[in-house]
Subunit: 401 residues, 4 copies
């Protein structure tokens, strides 16, 4: 039954799905229940209220779809746009590429702004496009907050500034799959119209909930959006929200209890502390990469991601071999390089319910693998660099006696 | 954290989600894993092979969508049909109604064949329509194998016979949500083109996998079907099947292990034994209803469902009160009457991993509730009738020492 | 790995180990922890405080031994008595017999007061012995509150009255294994000196904690008791209680969290409601037995046990066959007749976290088995009798919305 | 309910209780069962056969006591010896001290051979005592294979050689609590008469099973041993072994399934591979300690333990502060210095189901803590030393695809 046996714990450092905390695993360890009993709506109500906090919105309306991030993308697009609508979309890596592919197959007129993989969204070109678009043909800006394939974080505050500057009414749709609940994300302050994430990322749950949050403007847009949709239609949810039963179709009881537990853990730690922890882990990882003499796939510091680091390997090394060896020899799961950067980068995911010593074990493992594959790393160097930083910055765990 | 506290076990007798067996709960009690490691494809391969057995198909291609039954419906329709296509669809209860609503919103030209709730699909009208359709304008027949709202099982063998008789090429799309893995279902023999079910029904898992199985003819149709689809597109899966990585987007690791355990249990019991057990539980329930002097919502024996029994209550009783009381006083979860039969029926779900003594506890509970709400039931009568039948028919459990 | 496969849930009606509630299973679903961290003593403190409530004592000192009921017996005896001490002990069934065997092997001078199996302790003889014992040679009275083998509950209040009447200083040692937390038990009011139970009984946990509670008088006695003891010595615990670290040797982390959850559930339901529920289940069971035309092994109503019912079968039936068949055909676990009543009784345990519909399922099963083995039971009769009583007496579950 | 909250996983590096592998946690995630059903004896039979393998015995008889290591000690002693018997016992640290305390309280005549803490058992003195004991007054040699307080492994092969050399018939009783299933241990080859361990150590289970294994000679001795015992008596078990029901009192169902899973994991990895892994982790830890410029409490290489390393800190540092800080700041659980070495050593447990990257995370944490408390460690130095060794020695995980 177990296909991944090996002594000790698996070290899970892909950028999703991530480690599930024990209290969440416990909360989900249960039989099914009737979701039409009074209990599930009572719990759902708290979930819908609380999930808004991780988007930093008070005016948004959240939807918990039984789906993945790909489904959440589809829900964001089809509820707000009509076939043929012009949208500006940024291609900076594999996941923005896949979203653009979806946008095109959903029959939108996609104005793709491409950057080299390793760079952030080219906002200069956005500025030009907005400046030129006097007739407001652009209906939406689609942007990935954090590109998981290259470890690039885009600057959403600047996107909002540009839209405001040009007084452009385009909707702002944000893929926050590998950012929300880990990076600084402010739905209301940045005027994001639709934001979305998946349960298996920073929320540290199993895959299965696509969380979509819509601004009042997005909700308004959904009334006239002509894209065909049923399963992903917000209107069905809104109908049941009014009835107080919340669910147009059967939710996963286990994931609801799991989400309740996950949110409780996050609020217990404090969302800002969670974000600070991710910053700490991201910084430590980058210091290790630097100490190893390797390059970050992300080309400028302003784009550095605190949830995933894509590490460039020298041309004489195949990064896929690193990932294979990590799995087979060290029980360590690293992220592959995808598409354009296949063989060229490996990725360390450092998001979700994770602490410093877990990361340091991973970094030590990476050092040994680098040596295995012939890279002349100085063993211990990355860990030393990370420790030097962490030792000065890790706070006490307040909940500990 | 627990919204449903009460002493002892909850008696879950809604027709889904159903009781999860302990070995399946155990199998899902785990951390996340990298789904791109060699382990998950190795397991997925066995799942795709084995899941075909519960559809009784050797030629079909299964898809495990991270979705619910509603999503599985959408996948079946959008992959095989184009907007405007004429389809014949049978309205016999709430779930066929919802599917028809989806069909209409997906822009198909739906030829609705309505029956009184409590009756099966009107196949005489189907025969007329097929006979009249010389130019084959009907592209698909959509039928719910088992209408969960009324406890009506349709005769799929007859549908196939009619199609064959009229040499009609329409696709046969079947909602097997509350039938597959519990009722006699034969995808290949009955020439079903798309069949689908959900994990939380007879498979006895949590909600979260919509299983869709496509015949070669359906796969062929998907190449030219013009309905817009991305998340539910079979083509994405087929691409990854060829690559041997199987997953176009992140699956739920927990549900994969759970499905493995669920299938193992079913094959250990024997699929035909599982179906026989459902027949036994269905018969016992109907005998109890009869003993209580109540009517089955299902009007003829040929339509009797072995997975759910909808019980009609006398006009002076509100069936909703029965369901509320079951929950609040007896820790028993029964199904509500929905839509046209709201207040008129309550439903006993008897599907999934369930045994006779569990059902008898439920039936005893229903008797007390009937008395509570003023129906002059003879206490013990239903249980006596059920026991008289069961005592002669329960087999030994072969796996027991 | 699973040696007990069968469709549906196992119906566990042995008088221990009993069904574990889901929240308790969840609480124990965890990794080990360092028991010397500040967390475990903090939790232990709450456990020791709260466990006193189920003994209804404010002056007693509880000990949580990593052992079974047999170990708890040994702890009670060796901490309070010296080899050669005279004790009066009542033999009324298999478990009192085993305790007496232990008492003899521990070299006490046991004055055995035997009753026919099915009768309670002969307190008239106790009165005689106390009256005659002017020189107080009797050091302790050892009595099983509830004899699990015959379903007999002894009257502890009367024992106390006799001791008080004769102003006898003997210690009162009580085996409460199948009573405490299910039957009315009052340590302080009845002047019990040592009371004990096991985690797998009414507390509804796995086996593994033997809970012993000592009165101040018992603690005083332990200072001079000369029985050799180390593992079961209270003094080691008391030393660590003073230090605030509580544990002289490694406790089971899982059982500590489980006990915390079990106590929380009991207090949430209300201990007196728990006891009332046991009374209801016991009464319902006895009414069923009567309706079947069978006799209770317990000879008088005053001794009827609300946690276990031993049912006498006619001479032409072997009760062992009933238990085997229950297991093999109905996935029902009943208690065997033990020793003197082997083959003559089968036992229905109705203690712990259990509700009415669970019991009714069991009773329906027993009816079918009785028919299987040739007893002319009227099917449904026992369930009807139980339902008639329960339907008038089951309260609403207050915690339900 | 959770007293140990902190982001990420707790790093458990006390020398017991140790990390439980996920498959074992899963196996124990279950309801109670009737231990008198045919299933439990069937499983128990396999456990008793397989548990002998970890003792490397074919002639021994194992007993699974529902107790801790302390109880297992008591069982070993009371079944083989009589009050007043002379035994030779080695005092080399806190756990041998506690065992000696038990031996004395059980009224044996203990001939204590003391060594400085950090040294192994003084076998020269044993040789002298054996040589002098012409009349065979020494009835048993009691020795701790691995002293958990100081990280000292005694040489049992030499003990056996001495006994053979002097043709001395004394029983050899071995505490293998922190050795068996992790260190090289050979019951039959070394002529060990009673060996014992606890479930929460190298077997990586929760606390709750004390495993005692008796040689034929020990079994023979138990027939005449006069120590009073009931709960810990082997004779009760042997009686039930003959009956084929195995259990004189209620076992923990969960621990039996857990033990089954734990043994399966060990045999899947291969017991010799498990021992080699412990050797690897022990060596890596000692190399790190050396790189930090610190001393091992263990004074000679021949005594170095591969399951626990006790690290001496400089006089100006309180090792207790290290342990506190590890817990409070790094979510790392280290072992305290106990008794004579309190404040002077901290302990790293590296036993059980553990892998290299877990250990490296711990070592990195220790480095930061050392810096925290003012020790001038070079950050990364220990990890570098450990990695340099491990990178050349870690094998591929054979079970991985």
């Amino acid at each position: 039954m177990d296909y991944v046996y090996g002594p000790g714990k698996n070290h899970l450092f892909v950028p999703g799905p991530v480690n599930i905390p024990e209290p969440v695993i416990r909360a989900m360890n249960r039989n099914n229940e009737d979701y039409r009993s009074p209990a599930i709506p009572a719990m759902t109500k708290t979930l819908l209220e609380d999930v808004k906090k991780i988007f930093k919105t008070t005016t948004g309306t959240p939807f918990l779809f039984p789906t993945t991030g790909t489904g959440a993308w589809e829900s964001a697009l089809t509820n707000t746009l009509s076939p043929g609508d012009r949208i500006v979309s940024f291609l900076i890596g594999q996941f923005s590429l896949l979203w653009i592919d979806q946008q095109q197959r959903l029959k939108f007129n996609v104005d793709v702004v491409e950057s080299e993989w390793g760079q952030g969204a080219n906002l200069d070109i956005l500025a030009e496009k907005l400046a030129a678009d006097h007739s407001h043909t652009i209906k939406a800006i689609c942007i990935v907050h954090n590109e998981t394939a290259t470890g690039v974080t885009n600057n959403l505050a600047t996107v909002r500034k540009l839209l405001d500057h040009y007084r452009h009414p385009a909707l702002l749709l944000v893929d926050g799959v590998s950012s929300i609940c880990a990076l600084d994300f402010r739905m209301d302050e940045w005027g994001v119209d639709v934001a979305l994430t998946g349960s298996q990322k920073a929320l540290s749950l199993p895959t299965g909930i696509g969380i979509v949050c819509a601004s009042p403007k997005a909700l308004e847009a959904s009334k006239s959006a002509k894209s065909v949709r049923v399963f992903f239609d917000w209107a069905d949810y809104l109908k049941f929200y009014k009835l107080g039963t919340y669910w147009p179709y059967t939710p996963s009881i286990q994931l609801l209890y799991g989400l309740r537990a996950a949110l409780d853990l996050i609020f217990e730690e404090g969302l800002d502390n969670v974000i600070a922890r991710h910053s700490r882990l991201g910084t430590a990882t980058r210091l290790a990469v630097e100490a190893w003499g390797l390059k970050n796939c992300t080309q400028k510091e302003e784009w550095h991601s605190d949830t995933v680091t894509a590490v460039l390997v020298p041309p004489y090394i195949d990064s896929t071999e690193i990932v294979k060896r990590a799995w087979k020899r060290y029980n360590l799961s690293l992220g592959l390089g995808l598409n354009k950067v296949a063989g060229k980068v490996f990725r360390i995911g450092h998001l979700g319910n994770l602490n410093e010593l877990q990361l340091l074990g991973c970094l030590a493992g990476v050092e040994m693998i680098l040596k295995d594959v012939g890279y002349p790393v100085k063993l211990g160097s990355g860990v030393a660099a990370a420790c030097a930083y962490l030792q000065n910055n890790i706070p006490m765990i307040p909940s500990r006696i």
